[in-house]
């Protein structure tokens, strides 16, 4: 009886921990997504700048963040930066570290989308005498956004999965929580299956529909709409 009570107690406790872990994962995913999107856009735009030195900086940024492993980067933020007197909280490391890693990939998506906009659009903009920045802002980027949304959807799912790596730096997100709960109760199948399904749900019930919705919003003029 005592054991049964303990088990139930542990189970209830573990479920609560799992829910909290899921909330942490959502929070870190949201924060890191914002970091990744903002930095990805900025670096991607610098990558197609007309100034060569700026372009090189962007290339270095992209190669660095894509070339080294995400976990190496997290460790660097977490273990190495304190040597320079910069101690970041695990939360900052999680959000900035995951976000900056993904921004390297994001910048490449931005570059590819911008460069795939039809050459005729650049020529028409020159013929209409647009300054370069206006051309990018009003003509090129709005068209590029539509093309880059589907790959961004995949990238944000990669980001979600990447947040599981903060298992290694002491924040109890969904993966860590499920491991702790499974260790505590001995029921690995249950807790890992629930956690796997949790990620699947976040990816397919939140991220994918959100990106689809954005795609619809940005597809104005690209899909033949019913004319009222």
């Amino acid at each position: 009886m005592g054991i049964g009570f303990m088990n139930e107690f542990a189970l209830g406790f573990s479920v609560a921990a799992l829910v909290k872990g899921a909330a942490v994962t959502l929070l870190v995913t949201t924060g890191a997504s914002i970091v990744a999107i903002v930095l990805g856009l900025v670096v991607g735009l610098v990558r197609v700048s007309t100034l060569a030195p700026l372009r090189w900086l962007a290339v270095a940024y992209i190669e660095f963040f894509r070339g080294t492993s995400m976990l190496v980067q997290l460790y660097w933020w977490f273990f190495v930066l304190p040597i320079f007197g910069l101690s970041l909280s695990p939360w900052t490391v999680a959000i900035v570290g995951v976000g900056m890693n993904v921004s390297g990939y994001g910048a490449e998506l931005v570059r590819a989308a911008i460069q795939s906009v039809d050459r005729g659009q650049y020529e028409a903009s020159t013929a209409l005498n647009f300054p370069r920045l206006t051309m990018m802002r009003r003509i090129i980027v709005p068209q590029a956004i539509r093309g880059m949304l589907p790959p961004w959807g995949n990238l944000l799912i990669e980001l979600l999965k990447g947040t599981s790596l903060i298992f290694f730096i002491t924040i109890t997100e969904l993966t860590t929580a499920s491991k702790l709960a499974a260790d505590a109760t001995g029921n690995y199948l249950l807790f890992f299956a629930v956690a796997l399904f949790g990620y699947y749900l976040i990816a397919r019930a939140i991220i994918t529909p959100l990106v689809r919705w954005l795609e619809r919003r940005f597809s104005r003029g690209f899909i033949r709409e019913v004319v009222a």
Binding site: G67, V72, Y75, S164, F168, K179, L189, R204
Partner: protein
Amino acid sequence: MSIWDWEYVWEAMPYLLQGAIVTVQATFLGFAIALVLGLVFALIRQSQNRIVSGTMAEIVEFIRSTPLLLQIFFVYFVGPQFGIVIPAWTAGIGMLGIHYAAYCSECYRAGIENVDGGQWEACTALNLSTARAWRVIILPQAIPPIVPSLGNYFIGMFKDTPILAAIAILEMLQRAKNFGAENYRYIEAITMAGALYLLFSLVASVIVQMISLWLNRRYHLQ
């Protein structure tokens, strides 16, 4: 105490290289699994049976939307709960391979769907068997164009190997971290590990480009 000490670099190096061997082994083994299993997944997805292809699509989707770390935990820890003990190395490499097989199957699919539909019609007209059509006509056209994207997953897998540390496989990054913890100095070991990842990524991408060029020439594609 200086910020960067070469003494520690030389001290950590043999330690890191030992880990690098594990990392490279894991990558090659895992990727071999991914290439073969990915093709199997892709071919199952091409099945005429809606239920079979649909189920395969869902499985691929599920594998791609959940973290590798959790998948490895699942394989490694759930077995013993039912009395089946899977060694860490088997569980780790196996899951690494299955995870990337899901990605590779999407590459294969894109390659297969890009082969001109007329090729299938020509195979039918020449009365080739389906198996032979796949092997001699379709796949030789489908695979060379997707070598660059398969190569990206190869590099991606390499960068995912540190996850194996979670089930006590001592690969390069884990060794770097242990070295850091023992000496109370993380900067050299972790930075060197990062540099080795970067070096490998750059070298691998050059090799992938070369393979891709060679295959395209071999099969007289663009």
